[in-house]
């Protein structure tokens, strides 16, 4: 079998890398995962920086195009393969797409900042033997609670964030939430909210995400 043209560079444990991986799996797009040894600063070396000028993971290649920023890569995949794998990740008409974009931006601007800080402080910092910042944890937990209250309300009248179908907007939440629910003591932020809990349970048990989690635990 020929080598797939799509290459993803980075460790599956990285939230941004896993965001791209789940999108590829949802879209049934074959890919090659290229390891990047971050402990050995491989992501800061000239060859890598040529692909990703900020020296971060993931980097992505498809044919002759090189991309970075996980949400940009996901959008590219959803637009390039609208009918492959899970259809409708980016909607089937401009109005639905606008709603998906709206909730994707909400993830990016409102959910991501506090959940990333908490993921780093509560999961990655101990792993890297770094000191945790209690004030930062408290501050960001409060921020995340407010966001989840909005989600709780929204998901009471909508099965998924942008509407009745699973879309990129929901997908984008998978990486950080997985860590917070499974690897920290903050699961109840999600599970104590009925609608958010229901939504999390649905999106996290999708086969594509389960496969990514397997890759993370490998």
């Amino acid at each position: 079998m020929a080598t797939p043209p799509v290459k993803v560079y980075g460790p599956p444990l990285s939230t941004a890398v896993s965001r791209v991986l789940v999108c590829l799996l949802e879209k049934d797009v074959p890919f090659q995962l290229v390891p990047v040894n971050m402990a050995k600063m491989e992501h800061k070396k000239p060859d890598y920086v040529k692909m990703q000028p900020f020296g971060q993971v993931p980097a992505f290649q498809d044919d002759d195009i090189t991309l970075f920023e996980s949400r940009a890569i996901c959008r590219y995949l959803a637009e390039k393969y609208p009918n492959k794998g899970t259809a409708g990740l980016f909607g089937t008409n401009p109005l639905v797409k606008a709603s998906i974009d709206q909730w994707l931006e909400a993830e990016s601007q409102s959910f991501n900042p506090p959940s990333s800080v908490l993921t780093f402080q509560l999961f990655f910092a101990p792993l890297m033997k770094l000191k945790q910042d209690e004030a930062l944890i408290k501050q960001n937990e409060a921020k995340l609670e407010k966001v989840l209250d909005v989600y709780e309300n929204r998901l009471g009248s909508s099965r998924y964030l942008a509407g009745d179908e699973f879309t990129l907007a929901d997908l984008s939440h998978l990486p950080n939430t997985q860590f917070l629910v499974e690897k920290t003591d903050k699961a109840e932020l999600f599970t104590s909210r009925k609608n958010v809990g229901r939504w999390w349970s649905e999106i996290s048990t999708r086969p594509a995400w389960k496969k990514v989690v397997e890759m993370q635990n490998a």
Binding site: R75, L95, A98, D101, Q102, E105
Partner: protein, 242 residues
Amino acid sequence: MSLATHLFLPASSSIPCLVKTRVLFSSAMALKVHGTVGSPATFRALAALHEKDLDFEFIPVNLSAKEHKSPQFLAHKNPFGQVPVFEHGDLKLFESRAITKYVAEAFADKGTSLIHKDPKKSAIQTVWTEVEAQKFDPTVAKLGWEIVLKPKFGMTTDEAVVAEFEKKLEPLLDVYEKRLTESKYLGGDSFTLADLHHLPTLQGIMGTKVKSQFDARPHVSAWASDILSRPAWVKVASMLTK
């Protein structure tokens, strides 16, 4: 208040709203923006509308009266309690970068083209649009908050935070400098949303000492001057002085 001050207003700040401007659109599919003069996110949305030469109704939201936190606003406009909120007929959208994207696509053939149609060019543009959202805006808005806004609200600038974020900005602008050496605009060879999204925060920071970081990089400096002098942006920025 100065131009710089206004451009760093977070969506939830309490600043008295300024002049009410109403540009009426008589068609059934009216375009409306609920927002606040000086809010960077509001200005981001308005910049796109002006680039597209679109008529729209601007409905001021009174942040100082906490209108954006009222039950009606939260229930019917934006559950996050932020401006802007955009309407096109029955479509209602929040998040400025979703609004600009919708406007750019729905009115693709009107005014300035703000997106690339070619899939590969579009993908590259989306990359740099994410860079603004994920890297530029958080870094620069933080600096604006510390340097410009805190003093206006009677709070003290945290110089340690300023130093920290100035330090973060340097390598970011180095990447921009390299990119702009290879590409006329961030998203490609023409002005697109990837550049436009920077405008409100960029304008604000250029009124502070941080401008020196931009001036020190010739391509970044030229790009900044170029996009800040676009007539559509000048029109938006002038709302502050009306």
